[in-house]
Symmetry: C2
Subunit: 254 residues, 2 copies
C-alpha cells in the first residue's frame, strides 16, 4: 500500500506518537532507521506497522504486521529526524509487570527525573552493554519512548526492560536485599572501595538537582576526580559505576 495523503488515518496516528501524550493515548511508539527496525523485529515487542519511503526496499522478515509505503514528503513529516532513513516501525508500548524484574540479585539502574533524552538513551545503551537487569524511571523522568531517547539508546531498549515506576520501587528492591547506591561529591568512600559487584541499584539524579530520593539511598560513593571539573555528566557517572561493577564481577569470577 502506498499512502499519498497526509490525512490518512495511519499518518495522523503516527504524527501523534512524537508526543508523550499521543503515545500513551495510542499505546504505541515508533523507532526509525534500519538498525533500530531490525532490532525491533528480533525482539519480543509487538510491531503493528513497518512504514517505508516510496521505492525503499529493505528485506523484512515475515511477521504479524502490515508493511506500508508513503511518499518522501509525508515520511519527512512523520519522522523525528532532519534526514530520515525512510524506514520506521510502529510498535505497541510493552506492559511490563514491575515485580517480574525484581530479583534477589543483579544490577539495577534508577533514573530519577533525568530530563535530557540523550542522557537517558545513553544510559540505556550503557546499561545494556554491562548486563544490567532492569532500569526503572521515577519522578517525571523523560519518557523512554521519546524518539530522541530511542535514537541515543541505539536499539538497546529492545534488550533491557525500562520500566516507568515510582520511588516505591526502591523499597521493593531493598526488601529483596538489593543495596541502593548514589554518588555524592562529598562522600567518604570511593566507588572502587565498595563491593558493588552484584545486588546493587544505582540511583541517577536529575542533571541540575541531583537525587531526589536521598532518604532511600543506603550508601553514597564518590567517583575519584582529581581535575578541576566539579562534576560529571549523569550518563558518564552511570557508566563508571556500571563498569566498576562489571570489573568487580569479572575479578570475583576469575
Amino acid at each position: 500500500m502506498l499512502i499519498t495523503s497526509e490525512n490518512n488515518d495511519l499518518i495522523k496516528k503516527i504524527k501523534k506518537l512524537k508526543d508523550k501524550k499521543g503515545r500513551y493515548e495510542e499505546g504505541m511508539f515508533f523507532v526509525e532507521g534500519t538498525t533500530n527496525v531490525l532490532e525491533a523485529l528480533k525482539s519480543d515487542f509487538e510491531i503493528e506497522y513497518i512504514v517505508m519511503g516510496e521505492g525503499v526496499k529493505i528485506d523484512i522478515p515475515k511477521g504479524d504486521f502490515e508493511i506500508v509505503h508513503t511518499t518522501e514528503r509525508i515520511f519527512k513529516k512523520i519522522s523525528d529526524t532532519v534526514t530520515p532513513q525512510m524506514v520506521m516501525a510502529i510498535i505497541k508500548i510493552p506492559k511490563y509487570v514491575e515485580n517480574t524484574y525484581i530479583k534477589e540479585k543483579g544490577v539495577y539502574v534508577i533514573a530519577d527525573n533525568i530530563q535530557d533524552p540523550g542522557n537517558l538513551g545513553t544510559i540505556i545503551r550503557t546499561a545494556d552493554a554491562f548486563g544490567v537487569s532492569a532500569i526503572f524511571t521515577i519522578n517525571n523522568c523523560v519518557d523512554v519512548f521519546n524518539p530522541k531517547v530511542l535514537r541515543a539508546s541505539m536499539g538497546s531498549i529492545f534488550h533491557i526492560p525500562v520500566i516507568a515506576a515510582t520511588s516505591q520501587i526502591l523499597l521493593k528492591l531493598k526488601q529483596r536485599g538489593i543495596k541502593v547506591f548514589a554518588t555524592y561529591l562529598k562522600a567518604q568512600k570511593l566507588v572502587h572501595e565498595c563491593n558493588i559487584s552484584d545486588k546493587v541499584a544505582f540511583v541517577l539524579g536529575n542533571e541540575a538537582k541531583g537525587v531526589s530520593v536521598v532518604d532511600l539511598v543506603d550508601d553514597f560513593v564518590k567517583i575519584p576526580m582529581t581535575g578541576e571539573a566539579e562534576s560529571l555528566n549523569v550518563s558518564i557517572a552511570a557508566s563508571i559505576f556500571l563498569y566498576e561493577s562489571q570489573r568487580q564481577r569479572l575479578i570475583k569470577n576469575n
Copy 2:
C-alpha cells in the same frame, strides 16, 4: 554602552563566530551563561568583550575587556541557545604551542574525527575531571570552539588544553615514551588488565568509522561488555578508560 542596532560592527562580528570559518577569521569564540563566563574570567584566556542583555546585572570583576549591553531581541540573534542566559564572553582563540604539552608522563586524549559536538564536549569535561594533561583533536574533528561543544564541556575548556593537531602528534608522544591505546571490540586484553596508570594516550575514533590512525596504536584493549549492546558511545568509552587510569593511579600511590 547599549547596542540597539543589528548593524553594529560588534554584533555582526559575534554573529560570524557561530561558524568555524568566522571564528578563525576573527580569531575569536564566545561562551554563554554565567558559569561559563565566570570560568573564563578566572582563566588565562584573553577576554575581549562581555555582552549582556539590557538591564542584566552580573557582578563582573574588573579586567582588560569592554562590557556592553544589547537588547533582548538582538541578544537572541547572537546567542546559540533558544532561551539564552543573556550573558556571553567574546574570547581570543588561544595559540597553544603543541610541544609545550607533550611531557614524559601524563594521560592524553586524542579525539580522532569525533563529529558530534555533545560527544567532544562531554569528553573534555570528563578528561578535566580525571586530570588529563591535554587533548589533541586530529583528522577533521568537530571544532572545540563550536558553541555546542562548549556547552557540553561545562567550562572545562578553561582548565585543560584542547589543541588542534595532526596525526603526527602520536609520533611525538610515542617518542617521549607515551604508549598509545585504543579500544577494539575483538581485542584480547581487557582494559583493567593493562597498566594504564600513566604515560598513556587514548585515541577515540569517529562515531561511525572508528579510529583512523590504527597503525600508530601500540595496544588495543577491550571494555568488558556482557550485555547485548554491540558498542558504547565514544564519550562513555573515554570515561571508562580515564576512570580506570585514575583508579590505577590511586591504588599505586596508596
